[in-house]
Structure formats: C-alpha cells, structure tokens
Amino acid sequence: MASSTLLIPPRHYLNDGYGIKSWLLTRDHKRIALLYLAGVTLFFFVGGAMAVLIRIDLATPPGDLVTDETYNKLFTMHGVMMVFFFLIPAIPAVLGNFLVPIMIGAKDLAFPKLNLFSWYIYIVGGLFTLYALVSGGVDTGWTFYTPFSTVASTTNVIPTALGIFITGFSSILTGLNFIVTIHRMRAPGMTWFRMPLFLWSIYATSLINVLGTPVIAITVLLVAAERIFHFGFFDPRVGGDPVLFQHLFWFYSHPAVYIMVLPAMGVVSELVAAGCRKPVFGYPFVAFASLGIAVLGFLVWGHHMFVAGESVYSALIFSILSFLVAIPSAVKVFNWTATMFKGAVSWETPMLYAYGFIGLFTIGGLTGLFLATVAVDVHVTDTYFVIAHFHYIMVGGTIMGYLGGVHYWWPKISGRLYNEALAKISAGIIFIGFNLTFFPQFVLGYLGMPRRYHAYPPDFQVLNVLSSAGASILGVGYLIPMIYLMWSLRYGRLAGSNPWGAVGLEWTTTSPPPTENFAETPLVTWDAYDCHAPSESHVA
C-alpha cells in the first residue's frame, strides 16, 4: 500500500507550458480548477471581511461602528459573496474540476473549452458584483425580497442582480459538463457503483445546478427588469404579488443549500474511507441518499415562508416534506460513523476536518428539525436561530469539508506536503472559533433577537460578545492555512503519488499528475475503496 516513488515527475500539468497565456487560455481541467481556487479564495476573503466588520459592530448594542445604511450593505454583500461566489462554486469548481476526470479515468471533462468559458463567466459575474459593492453597495439582503428590492431600495440592485445572473451560467454549464462527463467518459470497467462516492455527490449536485439555477436566473432578471422598466410583477400597487417573488426565489435557493452541502458530503465520504482504510459503510445507501436529497430538496422551498402568508395546508405539506428530506442526511451521518468502526482510524488533518464535519453537520441538521416544526419555526424564523442553523451547515459543514478536501488532495494538486502540526493546530482553532461564534446565536435566536439588526437591546450583549470573540478566533484559524499551504509550494516535502496510502484512481497517477492525467487509460476491475486494488495504474 505504501507509495512507490517520492520523486516529482519531470513533466506534469503545472510545468506543461509557462506564462500567463498558458493559464488564461488553458483547457486543462486541473489548471481551470486552480483558476477557480484563486477566484473563490478572493471572494471568500471579501465576504469574510464583511463578516468581521459585522461582528465587531455587533459587539456593542448600539450600531456604532458604521451607519445603518452601511451595516445593511455589509450583511447583504456578506451573503451575496459567500453564497454565490464561494459556497456554491467552491467544491464543485475547485475539487470537482480537478478530480472528476481523474476519478473516472478520463483525460479531461467532456467540454474543456466550455469549462474555461465557465470560469470567465464566473469572474465577470464576480467583478460585476464587486463593482456594485465598491460603487456604493447593495442593501436588500442576499434574498432581495420585493417590494423593497424593486421599489424602495435606492442602492445598486441592478448590477448585483446582473452579476448573479451572469455567474449563474457558470454553475449551469459546470453542472452540465459534469453530468455529461460522468455519463459518457468513465474508463472501461468503471461502472456507476464502482465510482467513488464523491462522484455521486457531484452528480447529484450537478442535477440541482442544472435544474435550479435557471429559476434564480429568471427571478433576478425579473427584479432587474422591474427596476429598469417599471414592470409590476411584484408590486402590489399594480396588482402584483410580492410573495410570488419569494416562491420563485426559494424554489432555487433551497436546493441551492444542497448544492452547497452535497459536495462537502462527497468529500467527507472520501476522507472517511481513506482515513479509516475501509470502504464507506453502506455505499449504495450513501449513493442513493445523495440523489434522494437532490430530489426532495426541490420540494421543500415553502419552509422559508411559513410566516410569509402561506396557507395553513401549504405550510403543513412543506413541513412534512422538510422532515423527510432530513432522513437521507441522517442516513449518511450514521453510515460515516459506522465506517469508523473497526477502521484503521487516522488523526491526520483531512480526517480531523471530516470528523468535525460529521459532528457539526449533525448539530446543524438537528436544528433544521426545529425549523421544520412549523409551530416552533413561527417563533425562531427570521431570528439568530436560523442564522446559527445555516452557519452550522455551511461553515461547520461545507467549509470544513472544503478545507478537508483541500488538505487531502493538496499533495496530488501541488506535489508537496504541508506542515502537519500547523495544519492540525489551525483545524483546532477553526473548530473552537466556529462553535464559540455560532452556538450562542441559537440562544439569542430563541430569546428573540431578529436577523439583520444593526442595534439590539442591551441584555443581548453578553451572547453577542461571545459570538464576536469566536469570530475573531475563527478568522485567525482561516488565515493560517493560507500561509502554510503557500509555503509548502516552495519548501514542502515532495509527496509522491500516494502519501495517504489511499485507494482511488487519483492516487495511481503522479503528484502532480501529467496533463493527460494517466499514461494509459486505466481499466477498472475493483470496487471503490477496495484496499486490494492496485496502487499504480497499468494496462490490463
């Protein structure tokens, strides 16, 4: 099982052509993945900076760091940046792009030029939105509720809406690319049920991307059109219905949260299998759970609207469906935990992130049950309880999955190993900082502190201060990996093709891989995670 060579191959995708043109005009999915890595990292820190300012202001009850208008713009931009420009693209566009072809034994995705085009769309959309931010900001919240966003707001709604519209195509085309690739480009012998579970998650995510994103596209277009041309789709003064916007918006934005979490779940499956040197327990159940989440995820959007004027019967239907969508996620958590039983359990950094994910995602998911229970949701919706819930899933879940995946595949991507001690310390700092930031918010929410409040009653201060303290720790935790990962590019130990002793086609090729991924097309005769699989590829 130990890796064979420690040498970096003479020719690989990183030195196959130099200069900016070879990067900006590349068709290599691995280089495009790194282009996305640069983009998502930039937008993550922009969104993170907003969060820092928000938490500093919220350390004191009055809104005294910035004005009301600025505060409203800060939380809007935090949401827009994080949701559309980090959480949705990060794992699929960075790890998915890099790994999907390699994991199925192909040379590239089905449509390499379209892949590059998707990146440009993403960057253009992101720049549009950054422009909107820099030239005055947007204050509608990332949810753009009408009629505030169409009629009352005096800020840069139109460029932000258009930026999101443009970037949506990046998601759609990437999803399309992954679906076709997985259907049509698997290596000989790579049946669906021999695929690593990461690919099942990416596939399910791509289904949602392809079916859901067009709806948010038309929705933001309608908002922009209403502002530009004074159409009246959501304006009650003309007979329009502002709540119709919410239906259209959440029809995408609920499945969107599964776009954010499914890929992270896929990463966790890989990390747990590699970290325990065991097949994931209940492989077919985990695979079908991914599909189940994708399908059921389209049926629950109304749970964001329990107090928005929905009828009692609609509310009850969405409530029961929301309970049902929790079940496949629970199944996955139990299967991952069972995988650890009688495993050879590693405590290396990527695995720590995976275990952290399982725990924090469980808490986030359980608090989702509170929200699915309509009678309780009436009290806690639009409060900090919801904010805590979704940050547990998106930060405690997705971001930890992302970081775990980045650390796990870093040796494959760069050919180098990072400093394990620093990495473990950062993971610990992130875990502690995260929980200190967001756990008090559950309490604040049940107490009644509403969302998007710049100022709050003084007796909420202690919990807010705890949360802000946690945020500062969390911020430090995120900065440290930037340092040691960059450092490893130059000074890290060479990794060799399989530093983890893991199973998977990506570990049979060199680190970094050659441009065409494999010397010859692999012939797959083993199951996913089968420890008796060959550790190097060869022609069968």
Binding site: K107, H183, R184, M185, G212, F231, F233, G239, L244, E520
Partner: protein
C-alpha cells in the same frame, strides 16, 4: 515506453480528450439535451408568473391580449414552423453528405428567422406607438388599467427573451453555415448540425406555447 495515446489526427473533428467519434457525438448530444432542460426551467419560471397572474386577472389579460396583432402573430408562427422544417431538411442533407443542399436549407432557416425577428420588431414598434409599453406612458381602458400592465410586462419579457434566443440561434446558424462552407461538416462528422437543430427546434417550441398564451386569450372562432 507505454502504448501511444490514440492518434486523433486522422479522425476529422475528434477532440483529443475523447476516445472515439461516437463517444464525442453521444457526449455533445447529451450536453445539448441537458442545456435544453435548463432552458425549460428558465422559461418555466416566466410561465409560472404568467399562470398565476392570468388566473387572478382573466378579464384584464383577455382585454390586453386582444390588443395584439393576431395576423402578424399567426404569420410569425407559420414562419417559425417552416424554419423548423428547413432546419430538419438541413439536418437530413448533412446526414446524406449533401453540402449544397445543406447550405441552401441553412440559409433558408436563417432567412425565415430573420423574417420572424423583423415582424417582431414591427410589432414592438406598434406597441410603443399605441402606448402599450408599461411605464409612465402606459395607456389602457380604465377598468383594466393596472392589470393590463402586468400582461404587457409579461408580453415584452417573454417575447423579448424568446427573441434573444432567436438571435443567438441565428448566430449559431451562421457558424454552421460557415463550417458547412469550409468543409468541416462531412458525411462522417455532422453532429454539430444535429445539435444546432435541437436548439432551433426548442426555440420554435417555446414560441408554439407563447403564441396561444399571449395572442389567443379569450378569442373565439367567429
């Protein structure tokens, strides 16, 4: 030295990351179908908005629909259906390797698409002149004044997006014409024509829905 990577230079049109032309054709065709599904969802959002408001304001929608020019709408429908015919014939010609016929039918498709857009432009101009464009200059009978604005907002949004798709389709046809002219399209490699045909037919089908929903509300045979 391991076995050489498959030599793609002898197979025209085969991209290097595919193993066979069949695999490539299947992939690109599946890709276009997936894309068309996204378009269904995209227009679907608009159709949902339409359905909601038409069910709430049937009188206003009928009155406003009567203000559209049904003759021009019918002509446009016939034009677009014919263009789908010429497109299908172009695909057939490509499958038989008949370059000249292919070029003729591609040109015919573009011509008919141009006619459609021209008539649409004329209709838009007319709406502008009649003050049926929503906004400050909008005029309509008092009883339906407010809700007719929603109808016309939907009219412009739906036909406008459809027209945008037509323009893109026109651009695709230009590229196909050029490839056919250059000889890139051959008896072995004609899937781009098929895939473009799929797109064109889809845009036609969207119009087949738009036409009755916008032009034919409450109209009965005389």
């Amino acid at each position: 030295m391991p076995e050489a990577v498959r030599d793609h230079s002898h197979v025209p049109g085969l991209a290097h990351h595919f193993d066979t032309l069949d695999q490539q054709t299947e992939a690109t065709t599946l890709g276009m179908w997936v894309f068309l599904v996204t378009e269904v969802l995209f227009f679907g959002g608009l159709f949902t908005v339409y359905t909601v408001y038409r069910s709430w304001y049937p009188g206003a929608f009928a009155a406003a629909s009567h203000e559209l020019d049904i003759t021009l709408g019918t002509i446009n429908t016939a034009v677009l259906i014919t263009s789908s015919l010429t497109m299908a014939l172009a695909v057939h010609a490509a499958q038989l390797g008949e370059r000249r016929t292919l070029l003729i039918f591609l040109a015919a498709t573009m011509l008919l698409g141009g006619v459609f857009l021209g008539i649409k432009g004329f209709e838009y101009y007319h709406k502008f002149v009649e003050h049926h464009v929503p906004g400050s200059s909008f005029q309509f009978e008092q009883e339906y004044f407010r809700h007719a604005q929603i109808f016309f907002s939907l009219y412009f949004m739906m036909t406008g997006l459809h027209a945008l798709h037509m323009v893109i389709g026109f651009g695709i046809m230009l590229v196909m014409f050029w490839w056919a002219w250059k000889g890139t399209i051959t008896l072995e490699y004609y899937s781009p024509i098929e895939i473009s045909g799929l797109y064109w037919h889809f845009v036609d089908i969207v119009w087949i829905f738009l036409f009755p929903l916008l032009y034919l509300i409450g109209r009965h045979a005389h």
